[in-house]
Amino acid sequence: MTDARLTVDIPAGDGWIGELSAGERLRIVDLRGNQAVDTLFFDAHDYANRYSAVDTLREQGSAYLTTGSRLLALDCVPLVTIVEDTCGRHDTVGGACSQESNVVRYGVHTRDMHACRNTFMAQAASWGRGLDKRDLGANVNFFMNVPMSPEGGLEFVDGISAPGKYLDLRADRDTLVLISNCPQLNNPCNGYDPTPIRLQVWAAA
């Protein structure tokens, strides 16, 4: 593959926002393993037409994301497709942590801890162009393992990722990507030790 046009490491608790042109490829590398990467996608020309987890799951007929998963916008047309995946399974039902959901799940002593939705809002504010909390729908949690049972249960469990695992996304149209590298310390989604990720972008082949 040619040289990446972008290579950047994102520390835990930090984020990234940027555009992919149609045909470009984004690689997300879980450098040290078991790191949840909370990610949102938007039609770069119409932010109201954003990633829709529920349309994506219904149309693919499966509750998890992996190679071949087409991540649909609200118009049910793909924004990006997972074209390579060395991890094997990613969540899109568990959502992003927030100070408010941490209080519900773990107690008021977690209220002041850093959370993904704060990163989403900060990145959106830095991007400008009207993007804000109203645009935050259900996200993808790359490398996160949230199995659902036939009986109707759901659990956050130890990741199935490992150091160096990665996935490649191909942009099917011009797409804005918004990432929070998850700072959660209260559940196993980051192995209780949030770590950096690497992003690489290649131009269309």
Binding site: N49, L57, R58, C76, S98, G137, A138, S149, P150, G153
Partner: protein
């Protein structure tokens, strides 16, 4: 207990939409009159619709992948907007979304108002947006919805399968509102329903007054998470 006062009792026709601010200490009972109904629904905090029903927070707080009696419906701000206090059918989907005009055309064929008058085939998306627009809201406010009366089974390998004949004639589900809540819903078929003919069904909507959740309420005490979610909701009342 005081006598329950009926605030609204109406039948919502198949293939249409409805919205209403349901106040704290009222309940909404939705009855599937004929069986096989699907009712896509969204909830917003009345007065601040930037706070809205949050599928992920609802599921992960209660370690569930479906909704039924005893479940609290959370906003994205950690507060319980409503509780499911009664349910005849045991499973309401919230992970598979709703129909668009393109889906309706592909599944059942487009049928416009010119041809069918009020029997036209409106998608859930069109019906939900129409109701959202009435409240100054729109596409940016569309989040993962509830599908009352629909079960999409999750196999152990993750594959999803629509369960036909899940909801029976007369099956009902009751929401008790813990905060003033804008309810937006529609009576439109689920995109995965394999029925070969358009299968929108009517539902009865019954709004009554109801007692707020007490200290020993079963939804509140179902798990420590719900205790905290109710406390956060009640904090906004003071």
């Amino acid at each position: 207990m005081s006598t329950t006062e009926v605030i609204l009792d109406t039948v919502l026709e198949p293939g249409t939409g409805w919205s209403r601010v349901c106040r704290r200490a009222t309940s909404l009972t939705i009855t599937d009159l004929e069986g096989g109904a699907n009712v896509p629904a969204l909830l917003y905090a009345a007065g601040d619709p930037l706070e809205r029903y949050c599928m992920p927070d609802t599921l992960k707080a209660q370690h569930i992948s479906r909704l039924t009696s005893g479940v609290a419906l959370y906003s994205d701000m950690g507060r319980v907007l409503a509780s499911i206090v009664a349910d005849d059918c045991g499973w309401h989907d919230t992970i598979t979304g709703h129909s668009t005009a393109e889906i309706v055309a592909a599944r059942w064929g487009r049928l416009g108002y010119q041809e069918a008058r009020n029997g036209w085939r409106r998608s859930a998306r069109e019906a939900l947006l129409t109701e959202l627009w009435k409240h100054g809201l729109g596409a940016r406010d569309l989040v993962a919805n509830i599908n009352f009366f629909t079960k999409v089974a999750i196999a152990s390998d993750g594959s999803l399968g629509f369960v036909s004949d899940h909801s029976q004639p007369g099956d009902a589900v009751t929401l008790r509102f813990e905060l003033d809540t804008l309810v937006v819903l529609t009576t439109t078929p689920h995109p995965l329903d394999p029925a070969p003919v358009w299968c929108a069904r009517p539902v009865r909507l019954l709004v009554t007054d109801s007692e707020p959740a007490g200290a020993d309420d079963s939804v509140r005490s179902a798990c420590p998470e719900n205790e905290r979610g109710f406390a956060a909701a009640e904090m906004t009342l003071r």
